[in-house]
């Protein structure tokens, strides 16, 4: 019996076992997946919790319910991977052997990595919304926030879902307007990047949307510490941004067991080939989803498209053939902009987000890089698609590889 071991039953891990269980013979392949609990969160939902657009009970399900029959599900914490002997050890002492290992243990916000962040102001005036608990605490704080400086802050790149801080900012602006409080609140968006977003055309479009909403942007700001007494972010080049309410995206890091196992880079991400997700050191180890170091967004869409490439490649690999699939870094993200409108961006390693129609030219129905109602509805519908189609590994009507069809390409920047 051959063994495939998957560490992490999140978006990537769950899709992998669902797709591969159907395609690997039950008599030849044992598939095991490990996670530390039995709660699968719909992570895009965290963005909506602070504004009471979704209720906490709407965004989680049992991991069991998302996994197929014939997959062994182990609840436990990974202590380390011993790659030379193909063994994973859990913190309770259990050993799990494998022929092939997939690391899909994601990325986690680490407020402990910035001095002052986890101090006495944590969850009093300093919040984050990338965890279930954090988003719920922020929802409570927003209920009583009626004036002052609201600062949205990114500690450092890369982060999971790099558009979420912008979405939070747009939603907060709309939410304050609805309550008639916007004039009493000064909003500042603080980023380590040179602009609102990472790629020029999207950065311009999103930057002018911040301008229109009178949201100040502090760029090239790399935080050194938080001055807890004076409630201010302090950068390495000694700029200060004071806040009354800080919504920060803490430093994101891969799982600690990756570091303990000697498999990670300086942020605990597993270095892999960016087209096959195969470990650069061990050919029987792959890293999928947010856990790898591939140079594209850490996002569910990337997990989805790369898992499709990986599962086909994996079947070739185990039958002794060369892997022919090549992941292009395709990402596709809805961006909520408030007032029931949204934006859509579609890009890959080589092509930045462009304007145009998606998925079809002229008819769309989605507009790229443009605020529309249809894009908002797409985002709303996505929660159902996530649970019922995406996680199950069923086909989606979107191409794995990015397509230039419908895009307006009047630049050729890389």
């Amino acid at each position: 019996m051959k063994k495939l071991l998957v560490l992490g039953a999140g978006t990537a891990g769950t899709m992998i076992v669902n797709r591969l269980r159907r395609r690997l013979s039950a008599g030849e392949w044992n598939i095991t997946v490990v996670d530390q609990d039995d709660v699968h969160p719909y992570q895009p939902g965290y963005l909506f919790l602070p504004f009471n657009i979704l209720a906490p009970e709407q965004i989680t399900r049992s991991r069991h319910a998302t996994l197929p029959d014939g997959v062994e599900y182990v609840i436990g914490d990974v202590d380390r991977v011993d790659a030379p002997t193909n063994t994973v050890t859990l913190t309770d002492g259990r050993h799990l052997g494998y022929d092939y290992l997939v690391i899909a243990s994601g990325t986690t916000p680490r407020p402990d990595q910035t001095p002052g962040m986890l101090g006495e102001e944590w969850q009093r005036s300093i919040f984050e919304f990338y965890t279930f608990e954090g988003a719920k605490a922020l929802a409570k704080a927003l209920q009583t926030f009626d004036h002052g400086r609201l600062v949205v802050h990114i500690t450092d790149m890369p982060i999971k879902c790099p558009v979420a801080p912008l979405e939070f900012t747009f939603l907060a602006d709309a939410w304050l307007r609805e309550r008639g409080l916007r004039d009493r609140v000064e909003m500042v968006y603080v980023t380590p990047l040179p602009g609102a977003f990472t790629k020029p055309i999207a950065s311009d479009a999103l930057g002018s949307m911040l301008d229109e909403r009178k949201i100040a942007v502090e760029t090239d700001f790399l935080v050194e510490r938080i001055d807890v007494e004076n409630k201010a972010l302090v950068s390495y080049d000694e700029r200060e941004v004071p806040f009354d309410l800080l919504v920060t995206i803490p430093l994101n890091m891969g799982a600690d067991f990756v570091a303990r196992s000697g498999l990670g880079d300086d942020l605990n991400y597993v270095p892999v080939d960016k087209h096959t997700q195969q470990s650069k050191t061990y050919p029987n180890i792959f890293a999928l989803g947010d856990a790898s170091d591939i140079p594209t967004s850490k996002a569910g869409s990337v997990a989805h498209f790369s898992v499709e490439v990986f599962t086909d490649n994996f079947l070739e690999l185990i039958s002794g053939k060369p892997m022919t699939g090549s992941f292009d870094g395709h990402a596709n993200c809805f961006i909520e902009t408030g007032n029931r409108k949204g934006l859509l961006i579609d890009f890959n390693y080589d092509t930045e987000p462009l304007k145009g129609k998606f998925p079809l030219p002229v008819v769309g129905p989605m507009d790229l890089l443009k605020e529309t109602r249809a894009n908002h509805l797409g985002k709303v519908a996505f929660r159902w698609i996530y649970w019922n189609i995406l996680l199950r590994g069923r086909p989606m009507p979107i191409s794995t590889h990015m397509s230039m069809v419908g895009k307006t390409n009047n630049t050729t920047t890389k």
């Binding site: 090239d220 790399l222 390495y236 080049d237 300086d266 594209t296």
Partner: protein, 104 residues
């Protein structure tokens, strides 16, 4: 890829001016590149540049500020002092390495 001549060196650069072929770089060129962005190189700058070159050769990627700090032992604060405002980009530019990724 644009080709440009700088101080007698013919070099290939990206649209933003980063060298695209790290082998076209030498220490003399570093001083010229530094002057272009208003920096006069001191021994401290050279420590950083030599770490960048060595690390790039070993890893194949331009190191991040975090890596220069944790692996190279040069604090991020110092890097902001030596290469003001945009240290990650400026260090890579002077060291003749590709613009750092990580901005995705």
């Amino acid at each position: 890829m644009p080709v440009t001549t700088l101080n007698g060196h013919e070099i290939h650069v990206s649209e933003e001016g980063f060298l695209t072929d790290p082998t076209e770089w030498d220490e003399g060129l570093a001083s010229t590149l530094a002057t272009q962005i208003g920096i006069t190189l001191t021994d401290e700058h050279w420590n950083v540049i030599r770490f960048l070159r060595k690390d790039f050769e070993e890893v194949g990627e331009t190191p991040t500020l975090r890596r220069v700090s944790t692996v190279g032992g040069i604090p991020i604060k110092t890097l902001f002092g030596l290469f003001p405002q945009k240290p990650a980009k400026k260090m890579a530019y002077v060291a003749g390495l590709p613009k750092p990724v990580g901005c995705v």
